[in-house]
Subunit: 328 residues, 2 copies
């Protein structure tokens, strides 16, 4: 275009002008392709690491990973989560006991992410505001933010050549862990991340086909045939993995519990209904104990805002019609 508009410009100069204009665009396009490839291949090559070298994690790397992760999305920019860094050898050993997971004792770092409304609540008090963050919605909001930050931290740590492994056991012993970390009211554990230089290099672990996870426009339950097909490869891979991990005791364990397939192993031994129910009740109790149990309507909740007449300043129930205002 520039060329067409300035026909008297000598050709060489025109070419140079064109190159000068095109080069940044080309470089930007290349950089953008390359960045996309870098990120996607990084996320795709994740594997959990459960064995660590005794080598410590560099303090500046740890700081950088954590402060970078805190740039991630968080609800309303309230940042209602925190992270507790454990590096003390004796503390790691105690945590290994609480989690019932010996790998923790050999990890140089354990990060414990907590849902944290203590900071926000205290700030409100300091500024003459009345915080209402002592309920289930508050806990869950902070917990979801904690996971966003934890996954960013995991990806950043892996980018710094560290190995990571999440620990679901964090919500199986919540009261013990809340006490262990001296969590004040309005703070509750959510998840943990072991961190260290990898002493193992496992292959990528299997996943169900992506289609099993994805739904278009509405949830479409699959039929039994499709379900069985999706799990077919997993049944073989998962079974072989346990045989490998448990060695000689595996056959004995299966016999004792009369287990014949991977689904039965999951439902009976790995994640039993009994355990899930115990953990559910413990969670309900520890949420209450940490000050997240005040869900009932408080005085004044039965009437709309005295200042503007709205039932909610955030979601307006009247957008669906009058019936909803009453429903509150």
């Amino acid at each position: 275009m520039t060329l067409a508009l300035k026909p008297r410009l000598p050709l060489a100069a025109a070419a140079a002008t064109f190159a000068a204009a095109a080069l940044p665009l080309l470089l930007r396009a290349l950089h953008s392709r390359w960045r996309r490839r870098c990120i996607l291949s990084h996320v795709a090559s994740h594997r959990s690491i459960r064995k660590f070298l005794p080598r410590p994690v560099d303090e500046s790397v740890l700081r950088q990973v954590l402060s970078t992760a805190m740039r991630s999305s968080n609800n309303g920019n309230m940042q209602t989560y925190s992270c507790i860094i454990t590096q003390d050898k004796r503390k790691l050993e105690q945590l290994a006991l609480i989690h019932d997971n010996s790998a923790i004792a050999s990890a140089p770092v354990l990060l414990t992410f907590v849902s944290d409304w203590s900071r926000m609540t205290r700030w409100c008090h300091l500024r003459g505001a009345t915080p209402g963050y002592d309920n289930f919605n508050a806990f869950l909001t902070g917990a979801l933010d904690a996971m966003v930050a934890a996954q960013s931290a995991a990806l950043c740590a892996e980018a710094a050549s560290l190995g990571v492994c999440f620990l679901g056991s964090t919500i199986w012993e919540p009261a013990r862990l809340n006490a262990f970390f001296s969590l004040p009211p309005h703070v509750h554990v959510v998840t943990s991340l072991m961190l260290g230089h990898p002493a193992e290099h496992p292959p990528l672990r299997a996943r169900l086909p992506a289609a099993a996870h994805l739904h278009r426009e509405a949830y479409v339950p699959m039929d039994d045939g499709a379900l069985a097909a999706y799990y077919a490869a997993r049944e073989v891979e998962g079974w072989a993995r346990y045989e490998r991990l448990y060695g000689g005791g595996w056959a004995e364990k299966l016999r004792a519990h009369r287990l014949e397939n991977l689904a039965q192993v999951y439902a009976t031994i790995k994640y039993s209904g009994r355990d899930f129910r115990v953990w559910s009740r413990r969670l309900a109790a520890s949420l209450e104990a940490q000050g997240f149990g005040r869900n009932e309507a408080a005085e004044g909740d039965e009437a709309p805002c005295a200042c503007c007449g709205k039932w909610s300043h955030c979601l307006d129930p009247e957008r669906f019609g009058a019936a909803d205002a009453a429903e509150r």
Copy 2:
């Protein structure tokens, strides 16, 4: 070292041998540095995008983002979450109404992540196993996994030059959204992600200093002075942001509600205790309605496993001594 051991090797050949050995190491070190920089700077440059170009999201990019995100960590590799993709214009408009967020109507894609134990439960039934995933622990476990996948999807989408914004409103109208997506039992909404080509390029949004988030070995509550200092910059930035966003109506709103500072705006208008309590009760009801409410001990839960005598196959309470076995 090679040089010292083979003194008769001509110098040029030795140098070549050395270079051949060193080059891959050097390249690997460079690649690793470069990857680390790429990932960390990518995570650090995130900003939520709420305005989108009408340009659709390329189908192959969407697929790649989602299947890559599904390589992320997930509890016990059970993959107990799913993702519902909304692209239908009319559906997006309805969702904008339910979320009370008009930006959704102009986003080409909305991803809704759900905690999903339906697949796992049906697989168990198909294989003669007895699933116990109809409780709070199951919902929360799937919800935490959903957030890990959602954050990976967010980072991958951003790497593909898309803009994203999470929606906390997903858990404010859970029953409506569960119905909207026809979620079967043992499936419940968790979070949503708007996705599209950015039509805005906002600056990085403020964060509290990283130190406000981080604790060493145990949670150390900060004193009021430190707290005020941490929030000082936020109070100015957040206030200016609302003035900019709300324009003329802002001063009026403040006067009507007698609000004097940012903390009061949060606690009274943005995230009021009344709203949080309503949302808490709605969540409790929708969890129950979706089949996640069976937390009481079931028949057989009061005795240890008949096969092996353990109370839990996953966490062994006896590791703390006999008192705990009874505590279950």
